[in-house]
Symmetry: C2
Subunit: 216 residues, 2 copies
DNA sequence: CGTTGTGAAGGAGTTCACAGCA
DNA sequence: TGCTGTGAACTCCTTCACAACG
């Protein structure tokens, strides 16, 4: 305790705990032990306790963690107590699916605009949002104080789109294009790529099926 | 060298290298140094060399790595040289987007079927594939030798759907539902959750904006 | 008595730095 | 000379094990 820096690996697990806590609250559960949290998250209890210890001391020995209290604490640490405006750039298949995704709102992320460069798409309505011209990006970012951009354009366009978004003032990018994006230090970028995930799965599936699979 | 076990962290980066290699090949580049690969992947050259050393020795000192050779090698290690049949379970917004995603085919993943439990969706056509009754899952898996399942159903249904898929013989799951799935040891499962990604971004964005942001 | 919080040990992944080779 | 391949050092993360506490 006393240390303010939360390890990267811990940060990546906090959303999972939050998920479990929200479900527990809906089910009327008031407290959860580190072991309960671990089972629901697919982890072990020591890891859970270590992770939560970075947030401060919030458990009660012999009892566990207060669901409501821990929910608030994790939300605050993750910066979810403030609403954030998000734009989705690229309204193809994936961008459209994201625009209709209700998980944004439920976690305090407000979709400020959908943007596309294709004139055929501009003006259409997707997931309750009107598609606007990509050229309006800087104005929208400034007017609506947008901090997050979801990039759902083809790989070849991703870097230029990211550059424009960053120049306009966006400080966090969620990139669905299968390319590494170079961004300034003050900008955070995460890339999620379906192909990559499938290929990782492929490796482990292959190993499991391999010669030493059912070896005893 | 000599060790057959490839570290998890390395496996997770191989698809990124593959991506860069394919792009290089399309551009007519014949060799890439570890530094070239590193820059294009957002890593450093020592890490790239270490990673590639686990595959065997494929670079030429003073020159770099042969693009074609390394592409083949990584593809083989990842098990991409064999075509694999994939089913997509759940044809909502995300499932539909995935069904229309061309990245599956390009990497040797063949969409064998789309499945949904909603009668209103069964029989419709999405992304060139007919939506079939979820009850047909076991038959489809057996007949078409399906090894991968993409789960794009609501969180509350994900575990039961996973259980059915595993029982039918699927051995790798890509889960888009925001829940941890419990699967037998011989099954590989990866969960990709948009909310989680956004929340992780939120943490770092908040830190960057915080009191000590531009401190020197 | 049950569960947390945490030092200490152990293991995994990263970076360094340079010998070895084309 | 330039770039790879790799032992060794280092940093980060996980697991253990148990004292502290409600």
């Amino acid at each position: 305790m006393g240390d303010r820096r939360i390890p990267e690996a811990t940060v990546a697990r906090l959303p999972v705990y939050l998920q479990v806590l929200v479900e527990a609250a809906e089910a009327g559960t008031l407290t959860l032990s580190s072991d309960d949290l671990a089972r629901a998250s697919g982890l072990n209890s020591a890891k859970v306790r270590k992770d939560l210890s970075f947030l401060g001391t919030y458990g009660t020995r012999g009892v566990g963690y207060d669901v409501a209290e821990l929910t608030t604490e994790i939300s605050e640490v993750l910066g979810l107590s403030v609403d954030r405006a998000v734009i989705i750039i690229g309204v193809g298949n994936l961008g459209s699916a994201l625009a209709s995704y209700d998980g944004f709102d439920r976690r305090g992320f407000k979709v400020a605009a959908l943007l596309d460069a294709d004139p055929a798409r501009i003006g259409t309505c997707v997931g309750g949002h009107e598609v606007r011209d990509a050229a309006e990006l800087p104005a929208i970012v400034r007017e609506q104080d947008v901090t997050f951009a979801v990039i759902a354009v083809p790989a070849g366009r991703a870097q230029e789109v990211a550059d424009v978004a960053v120049a306009a003032g966006v400080s966090a990018l969620l990139n669905f294009a299968p390319t590494h994006l170079t961004v300034p230090d003050h900008v955070t970028c995460r890339t999620v790529d379906l192909s990559t995930e499938l290929q990782i799965l492929s490796f482990y599936e292959q190993i499991a099926d391999g010669p030493s699979a059912a070896a005893g």
